[in-house]
C-alpha cells in the first residue's frame, strides 16, 4: 500500500499531463516484484482457502461418509435436513446469544477495565497481566479447567455449595443452566483480549484533547462519552468485529466443557458440524454446515466492514 502511493505520487511529479504514456514504465518496474512475490501468496491462498471452500461446497451436495470419493449426489438435501434439524436451530440461536453477550457484556466490561488500567498507576502491569492471562491459555485447557470448577461432586462449585449447605447445582448437566455456564467462561476467556485492544487504543488518545475538555468543565462521564469513546471508535468497531467472528467460530472451549450437551442445549454451529458431520461420518451434511457458516461469516464480515468500518 505504501509502495503504491509512493509511486503514484511520484508519477505526476515527473510527468505533467499524459498519464497513459507514463503508466507502462511503472507497471514494468513493478512487474518483477509482482512475478516474484505474488505467486507464493496466491498459491497458498488458493490451496488453503479457495480450494477447501470449493471442496466443501461440492461435498455438501453429496451423501458421503468421508471415505473414497463422493458418489451419491443428493442435491440440496443436506441443507434441507440441516434446516429441519432442531439441534442446528439451537446452535444458530446459541451463536446469536454468544454474539449478543460478547458485544453487550464482554466488550463494555473490557472497556471499563481498560479505562482503569490505561493509566500509569502502581501495579497496573500486574493487573493487566492477570486479566490477560485467561486469553493466553489454550481454549481446550481453559475448558477442562472450568469443567473441574463446575463439577458438582469434586469441583469448586461443589465446595462452595457445601460450604453454604445448599444442594450442589450440576450446572453443566442442566439444560437450562449449561449455556449460561458456557457464556460465563467465554467472557472470562476473551475479555482480556478486548481489554488489551482498548488499552492500546486509549494510549493513542491525545491527552491534550482530554485536557481541553477538562478545562471546559466536562465531567468524567462527559469526557468519556464525548471525547474518549469517539476517539476510540475504530478500536471498538474492530473489537466488535473480532467478537462477532470469534463467537461464530466458537468450538474448542465448548467441547471439553459440555460437548454441545446436554440435549444439544450448548451446541454451536461448529460443535454441531463436528458432532453431526465428523463423528457420524456424514461429511456431506458437515460440509453443508460449513457452507452455511461461511455464508453467514462472509455476509456479516463484509456487511460490517461496509457499514461500520468504512472510514477505519
Amino acid at each position: 500500500m505504501t509502495d503504491m502511493t509512493a509511486t503514484m505520487t511520484a508519477v505526476p511529479a515527473t510527468a505533467s499531463g499524459k498519464k497513459v504514456r507514463y503508466k507502462s514504465p511503472t507497471v514494468r518496474g513493478r512487474l518483477p516484484v509482482l512475478i516474484l512475490f505474488l505467486p507464493p501468496a496466491l498459491l497458498l491462498f488458493t490451496v488453503f482457502v479457495i480450494l477447501p471452500m470449493g471442496e466443501a461446497a461440492w461435498y455438501s451436495l453429496y451423501r458421503w461418509n468421508g471415505y473414497g470419493t463422493p458418489q451419491q449426489f443428493v442435491g440440496l438435501r443436506n441443507f434441507e435436513v440441516l434446516f429441519n434439524n432442531a439441534a442446528f436451530s439451537q446452535a444458530l440461536i446459541n451463536n446469536g446469544i454468544i454474539i449478543l453477550v460478547s458485544v453487550l457484556l464482554q466488550i463494555p466490561l473490557a472497556l471499563w477495565l481498560a479505562m482503569m488500567l490505561a493509566h500509569r498507576i502502581a501495579g497496573v502491569v500486574a493487573f493487566r497481566l492477570i486479566f490477560f492471562l485467561p486469553y493466553v491459555l489454550a481454549d481446550v485447557a481453559a475448558g477442562l479447567i472450568w469443567r473441574f470448577v463446575y463439577d458438582g461432586d469434586y469441583g469448586l462449585v461443589a465446595a462452595v455449595a457445601g460450604f453454604f449447605g445448599v444442594a450442589t447445582p450440576y450446572v453443566l448437566a442442566d439444560r437450562g443452566l449449561a449455556i449460561y455456564a458456557v457464556l460465563a467462561v467465554i467472557i472470562w476467556k476473551y475479555f482480556g483480549f478486548h481489554m488489551m485492544l482498548f488499552i492500546a487504543g486509549l494510549q493513542a488518545v491525545d491527552r491534550s484533547v482530554l485536557e481541553a475538555a477538562e478545562i471546559d468543565g466536562a465531567t468524567g462521564w462527559q469526557k468519556f462519552r464525548y471525547v474518549t469513546l469517539p476517539l476510540l471508535g475504530s478500536t471498538v468497531r474492530l473489537s466488535i468485529f473480532f467478537a462477532v467472528i470469534g463467537s461464530l467460530q466458537l468450538f474448542d472451549l465448548v467441547m471439553p466443557l459440555t460437548g454441545g450437551g446436554p440435549s444439544n442445549s450448548t451446541q454451536t454451529m461448529v460443535t454441531f458440524l463436528y458432532t453431526y458431520g465428523v463423528t457420524r461420518m456424514q461429511v456431506g451434511l458437515g460440509s453443508a454446515v460449513g457452507v452455511v457458516l461461511f455464508v453467514i461469516c462472509v455476509t456479516l464480515a463484509f456487511g460490517y466492514k461496509r457499514i461500520f468500518m468504512r472510514h477505519d
Binding site: 461432586d153 450440576y170 448437566a173 467472528i245 467460530q249 459440555t258 461469516c297
Partner: protein, 435 residues
C-alpha cells in the same frame, strides 16, 4: 471460513509455527527410527495401568524374539478415538492396527478399502490361524465371507452392584428378575438415600445399553433384526416403543446420580468405585475399570461387587439368556507391514489371551485360553456368554456410526424425559431410512 481468521493471524501464527516445528520434529524422528526398525503402530484406548503393563510386556517379549521390530503403543481416549479414526485412517499416519467393536462401523470401514482383507492370511495352512479362535468371534468380524479383523475378546453387559449398599438398603440382588423388580429395587435404594445407578449421560452411549437391552427383552431377535434391516415397522414396532416407555418410566424415578447428564464414562465408573452409587450397567471387566477410575485408585473390593443379568420384562419376546455385549477385534490397515499382522496373531494367541484373562482383563476368544479366566466376576460373564441364546453386538456399533449415534441420543433424551418413547423411535427410524 478460515479466511476470516486472518485478523487474528499474528496471535495464531506463533501457535501455528510451534505446531509446524513439532510436526517437523516428529517427522524427522519417525524416519530416523524407520531406518533402524520396522515400526508397528498400535492404536488402542486402554486406560487400566495393569492392562497396559501387560501389553507392554507382551510387546517387549515379541520385540526381543524379533529383533528389528519396534512396537509403538498409541493411545486415544474412547470418544476421541471414535471421532478421529475416520480421518486418521485416510491419512499417511494411519495406525497399523487398531481396536474395533465390529458391527456396522467395521463393515463401513471395510467397504472403504482402508482395511486389510485378512481372509487369505487367516485361512492359509488349512485355516490354522482362523481355527485358533472361537468360530462365533470370527463370524462376527466377517462380512460377505471376508474377515476384516482379528478377534480379541468377547464381552457382555450386565449389572454390577455394590453389596454393602444393597445390604444397607435391604435390597437382594437375587430377587431382581423382572424389570418391575428392578424398578422396585431402584425405589428402595432411593428411599434409603443412596443413588441407585451410576449413569454416564455425558458420553450418551452408557445409557443406550438400557434402551438396547429393553428392546431385546421386549422384541426379541426378530424385531431387532427387522428394524436394523429397515423391514416391516422398523424401529416403530410396538415392542420397541414399549421399550422406550419402560426406559422413560425408569427415568421418572430419577435413578441416576446428580448431574449424570454431564458425566463421562470414566467419571461414572469412578463414582461406582467410590461407593457413591449402588449399581452400574457395564462391561464384563468392570471390577478392573472401577478400580482404575476410583478416587483412591483402589475402588470397591472385589468381594464387595456382585453381578446380575439385565432383568426380563413380563410378556416380552426376548429371553433372559439373550446377551448384549461386545465382540472386539483388531482391524489391520491396508498399508500395515507383515510384522504388524504377525504381532496381532502373537498378541491374540492362546498363551497371551490366557495371560490377559488371568489378570481380569478380558474374556478370551482364543481356543484353549478359557482356563485363564479365574476372576469370579469374569467367570460369571463367561458362563453367561457360553449359555447365550442370542448374543447381540452393541447397538451403536452394530447400526453403524450415524444411526448408532442417534440411538445414543434418543436413549438419553427418553430417559431424561426430553422426548417420548415414540419420538425417540421416530428419530431413529428417520435416521435409518436416510441410510
Amino acid at each position: 471460513m478460515m479466511m476470516l481468521e486472518r485478523g487474528l493471524a499474528p496471535l495464531r501464527a506463533a501457535r501455528l509455527s510451534a505446531l509446524a516445528a513439532a510436526g517437523g520434529m516428529a517427522l524427522l524422528f519417525g524416519t530416523s527410527q524407520a531406518f533402524a526398525d520396522t515400526v508397528v503402530k498400535w492404536l488402542h484406548l486402554e486406560t487400566v495401568p495393569a492392562h497396559l503393563k501387560m501389553w507392554e510386556d507382551i510387546a517387549a517379549k515379541y520385540e526381543s524374539e524379533h529383533p528389528g521390530v519396534d512396537i509403538q503403543l498409541q493411545f486415544l481416549e474412547n470418544e476421541a478415538f471414535k471421532a478421529k479414526l475416520p480421518t486418521l485412517l485416510q491419512s499417511d499416519d494411519a495406525p497399523h492396527f487398531f481396536y474395533s467393536w465390529g458391527g456396522g462401523v467395521l463393515k463401513q470401514q471395510s467397504e472403504t478399502g482402508a482395511l486389510m482383507d485378512l481372509t487369505e492370511a487367516m485361512r492359509a495352512d488349512g485355516a490354522a490361524w482362523e481355527k485358533s479362535y472361537n468360530p462365533a468371534a470370527v463370524k462376527g468380524l466377517t462380512f460377505n465371507d471376508r474377515i476384516y479383523a482379528v478377534p480379541f475378546k468377547m464381552g457382555t453387559i450386565s449389572f454390577f452392584y455394590n453389596k454393602a449398599l444393597f445390604q444397607k438398603a435391604g435390597v437382594k440382588a437375587e430377587d431382581i428378575k423382572t424389570w418391575d423388580d428392578f424398578l422396585k429395587a431402584v425405589k428402595t435404594l432411593k428411599d434409603a438415600g443412596i443413588a441407585p445407578i451410576a449413569g454416564g449421560g455425558g458420553d450418551k452411549w452408557p445409557l443406550h445399553f438400557y434402551w438396547s437391552y429393553l428392546v431385546m427383552r421386549n422384541g426379541g431377535q426378530q424385531v431387532f433384526e427387522d428394524a436394523k434391516n429397515n423391514e416391516g415397522e422398523g424401529f416403530l414396532h410396538p415392542a420397541i416403543i414399549k421399550a422406550g416407555e419402560q426406559l422413560a418410566e425408569l427415568g421418572t424415578l430419577e435413578p441416576f446420580q446428580g448431574g449424570y447428564l454431564g458425566a463421562t464414562w470414566p467419571q461414572t465408573l469412578g463414582l461406582f468405585g467410590d461407593g457413591k452409587a449402588a449399581m452400574i450397567l457395564s462391561f464384563e471387566h468392570t471390577e478392573a475399570t472401577q478400580r482404575a477410575n476410583s478416587g483412591d485408585g483402589k475402588g470397591l473390593a472385589p468381594e464387595n461387587i456382585g453381578r446380575f443379568p439385565f432383568p426380563v420384562v413380563e410378556g416380552g419376546a426376548g429371553n433372559a439368556t439373550d446377551t448384549l455385549g461386545g465382540l472386539n477385534g483388531w482391524a489391520v490397515t491396508k498399508n500395515a507391514p507383515p510384522e504388524a499382522l504377525d504381532f496381532v496373531r502373537y498378541l491374540t494367541n492362546a498363551e497371551n489371551e490366557r495371560l490377559m484373562a488371568s489378570i481380569g482383563m478380558l474374556l478370551p476368544v482364543a481356543v484353549g485360553a478359557e482356563d485363564g479366566v479365574t476372576n469370579p466376576l469374569l467367570r460369571a460373564a463367561a458362563d453367561q456368554l457360553a449359555a447365550s441364546t442370542w448374543h447381540q453386538n452393541y447397538f451403536d456399533q452394530d447400526l453403524g456410526p450415524s444411526v448408532g449415534r442417534v440411538v445414543n441420543d434418543a436413549a438419553v433424551e427418553i430417559v431424561s424425559g426430553q422426548m417420548s418413547a415414540e419420538e425417540g423411535a421416530r428419530m431413529i427410524q428417520d435416521a435409518r431410512e436416510l441410510e
